[in-house]
Symmetry: C2
Subunit: 328 residues, 2 copies
């Protein structure tokens, strides 16, 4: 089996790659387990830091270049995780780049898969940024999409394409709307949500972090562990399980920033939680206040997707997975 | 004022052109009336049959060619009605053509408008084909979009672009989701809905018409008169009136095919209604059964859009507007 991951040098791409390489084969529901023969990571830079493995290939290129994507998705490709994206704040400041990567890039992936004639599985990373405007306290599966950012609009359009290409039998697609992923390892990125990870990650590493939003701000979050599980589960599920819409919102948990702070104190000590500096930023507060606070992910839960138990569990998982169990 | 109509050789484009030429100026809400100085109709063929008028220019070209659209939407353009589209059944059989016209064509129009830097008004013709899957008896403004055709998917993606380009201040857009337009004048087209007009139009012209669906099939319809009113009203409204979503579903009326037959008999005589031949077609029946049967267009009514009073009124308007009052 040959799997391609676009955005393969990103942290989710690399974790997904590591999980695939560590598994003893990929099971697609209703089929026997197939060995992973080849794993190709595509991104703007070559993915690094992964264990040496003869099955692994890393390619640097441009998702917005249809020719490169046609070369990437070769006849032997069975499945594609399409994670490559320009994140929210970046797509907002560079509209054309967002369109080229988030919309055209998705089309190139779908077209390349279609050209194979073998209906490969495509798992598309969408986002709860497709929601916006007037929202209820708790979102629901049939809630209307109303993106208020270019990133959200491009992801929503990408979902429509994944759905239609699947209906036409060109690909066997599925789109997962990701909650805010907490705790992202590494450095802050250009997403408006980057502080959500920083206020946990930096204090645990002995560094201060700025929190630009109020303690009563609420987020809908999912951990890296669970998002990797979700991607693998989405690959395994038969397409028909999704019914007439191939897109769904993943189950997450709803937490306030105050609850994050309290969980950090409980898990790592008050001195760690005290490393959060509270510096309100009206612009970011406004963006975060427009986010989906909670979601009742009935469809996804029925299909076997699952959220984290608690924010404490998320913090503990980060300490184990990224810090070798050591808090500074 | 210079207005461009894409799809200008289609029947809605021509009626809209005639209405604009006949008016003594265009009023944009909050602004004074402006004289129409130039009206450009763009389509795959040159629009014909319109009264000679020095303000009128007809251009034949390809909406899928970005260069042609950049040339079309010149600096003096104040508003664009973007009606050009590949209709449902055609977009289903020729997927690439549908994508090129319905999605790329819309992007070209938006990009050309954006490049002007003057935030022109764009009125985009969308469709209730953006709805699908499990639907309630009566649709509502916040109902989720779930297109089950490529045409519907492309229109939904186009709406997202119109909305985001408007949010970014690139255009001042608004997208109207059109009900099934009844009675379309002229010949049957490649839309799955074409019979809906044929079963009124052909009998009134003394010809037989085939009805491929059952009498209890229900449609959500709007007349040509009202759709022209709606486009002009949408142009006049200030963009802010639409709130955080620039797309809305127009008010229509819900009628069964049996009611259409009865209204035809009542308006034109039983002998005319008897010209409908009932020849069930499972494929078309299946498509029509998946259509939105009714919609409570609260937002649009609040903004001043209005439906027809009855199917009898729609038939009578067709007799007046297209047949010079004469039934054969």
């Amino acid at each position: 089996m040959h799997i391609v991951i676009t955005g393969g040098a990103g942290f989710i791409g690399k974790k997904l790659a590591a999980a695939l390489l560590a598994s003893d084969g990929v099971v697609l529901e209703g089929q026997t387990k197939q060995p992973l023969e080849k794993l190709t990571l595509f991104d703007v830079v070559e993915a690094n830091g992964l264990p040496a493995d003869s099955r692994l290939r890393t390619i640097a290129g441009d998702i917005a270049d249809s020719g490169q994507i046609a070369d990437l998705i070769t006849e032997d490709v069975d499945a594609v995780f399409h994670l490559a994206a320009i994140v929210s704040a970046n797509a907002e400041t560079d509209f054309d780049l967002g369109m080229a990567v988030n919309l055209d890039g998705t089309r190139h992936v779908l077209e390349a898969c279609r050209s194979l004639g073998s209906t490969p599985r495509v798992v598309f990373a969408s986002s709860v940024a497709v929601y916006g405007g007037d929202m209820p306290e708790v979102g629901y599966d049939d809630m209307i999409l109303n993106p208020q950012t270019s990133y959200g609009g491009q992801k929503a359009a990408g979902e429509l394409l994944v759905n239609d290409y699947s209906r036409k039998g060109f690909v066997d697609g599925r789109a997962l709307r990701l909650p805010t992923i907490v705790v992202r390892p590494g450095k802050p990125n250009k997403a408006a949500s980057t502080f959500a990870s920083s206020i946990i990650r930096e204090p645990l590493a002995g560094e201060p972090a700025v929190c630009p939003v109020s303690r009563d701000s609420v987020m809908y979050v999912l951990s890296p562990r669970r998002v990797i599980e979700a991607f693998l589960h989405a690959l395994a599920l038969p397409g028909e399980a999704f019914g007439p819409a191939r897109m769904l919102t993943l189950p997450g948990i709803s937490v306030s920033i105050g609850e994050v702070e309290a969980a950090l104190a409980k898990t790592a000590g008050q001195n760690v939680a005290d490393r959060i500096r509270w510096e309100p930023d009206d612009m970011i507060q406004k963006i975060v206040s427009g986010w989906l606070p909670d979601f009742d992910a009935v469809r996804a839960r029925k299909l076997g997707f699952r959220p984290d138990e608690s924010i404490e569990e998320i913090i503990q998982a980060h300490i184990e997975d990224e810090l070798g169990g050591v808090i500074r």
